[in-house]
Symmetry: C2
């Protein structure tokens, strides 16, 4: 399992992800789930992945090969709309999940879910959630965030706080406490934590941060959230007999 | 779906549950999931249920019939240990789930999960989680709470706050904000909210509270938690460029 999320604000977007991959409790590794796609300068795209590692690696690898191959049918640099890129990645993902021709294990479904965040030219920046089945949805105006993987533990704080008008830094803090809650409640979500900011029309991710478990800022954030939450709890109204 | 939870403290226990039952988005009803069992005065038991409504009704009905039938093999008043009651309820539950003899739908599994909280005589008060398969676990000393149903949204706050040494009122506030988070993030969890306190060795639930959606205390609690959480968030450390 894993946990990644993206928040769209009026000024840009914020993406965040954990880095734990587990193929069983005795096979836990660190892999980044945040893939900055190597586009031309008129665009910027980042792909977050949750699910089968073989599938996500094959998908990013195929995206790169299509970029390198001038005879490829299409590539992320030749598509004019982010929606088309979502469709293109969805198609690659379902093809990869079907496995090699003649694969016989009917119950083997190496599923993966992706979040595509990006901007092409002057089209507005946007977020897409690409399902394992290859179809996709845009983020909504009312709930301007998308999640993939182990989403539930970290959702309540997003439901309460996230709104389109917030600053990217606010969005980033929101993403960090959401990740922190997931990591505390579920062992399959773990550090390092990755975070990237995108300012609308900039066509580049900046800054891109990575916090190891013992990173002083990440520690400070976790401690503050713990302390503030406890205080928020202590300040709740009493029952009338107390 | 539903959400119910129980917290064991040194001084007693606290049980809480929502009241929404849905057999589809166009078939939503209100049913209590908190069943105070009609025991003799030397004991107290409350059963929280999550899952199939027909199963949970059949289980509580069977418990009552065994109490009324002097020739029944056993009943909750004749067992000496709470653990034995958990085993007894687990056995009823699996029998009910199998359905009538000759039932042919192999994929029809009307599952239900129960939390049994109680005390018999001077044995210490305890909590059991009874799985749909009929087996059960005791609550642990380290994480002295049990959840059933839609558990994930409301778990982070329990992970952070709950400990055996807390007062029952603290435990109750913890349960209320945990329920509030679940209700905000998942439509299948809904009011009224029920809450019951048990003081060790008292052999009775007191007080037992029920909050309708517009109950002033429940509203005040929700508003305070919303406001305090937002403040906790606003007080987080800034990035160094802010």
């Amino acid at each position: 399992m894993t946990y990644c999320l993206a928040i769209r604000t009026d000024n840009g977007f914020l993406v965040a992800s954990d880095s734990r991959t587990s193929a069983g409790v005795d096979d836990v590794s660190v892999y980044s789930k945040m893939h900055e796609l190597p586009t031309s300068d008129d665009r910027c795209m980042v792909l977050l992945s949750a699910g089968n590692l073989a599938t996500t690696q094959a998908v990013t690898s195929r995206i790169q090969r299509d970029l390198d191959d001038s005879e490829a049918e299409t590539s992320i640099n030749r598509l004019d709309h982010l929606e088309d890129v979502a469709e293109y990645i969805g198609a690659i993902s379902t093809r990869v999940q079907r496995g090699p021709e003649g694969a016989t294990q009917a119950d083997f479904r190496p599923k993966a879910t992706f979040i595509l965040a990006g901007q092409i030219g002057q089209e507005s920046h946007n977020l897409y959630l690409i399902y394992p089945e290859g179809n996709y949805i845009r983020v909504s105006e009312e709930k301007p965030f998308l999640q993939a993987g182990e989403t539930k533990y970290g959702k309540p704080i997003l439901d309460r706080i996230v709104e389109s008008g917030m600053s990217l830094e606010m969005a980033a803090r929101c993403a960090l406490v959401s990740l922190d809650s997931s990591m505390r409640s579920n062992l399959s979500v773990g550090p390092p934590v990755e975070l990237a900011f995108y300012q609308a029309d900039s066509h580049r991710l900046d800054p891109r941060l990575r916090f190891e478990e013992d990173d002083p800022f990440w520690r400070r954030m976790q401690d503050a959230w713990s302390r503030n939450l406890r205080q928020a709890f202590m300040d709740l109204p009493r029952f009338d007999w107390e």
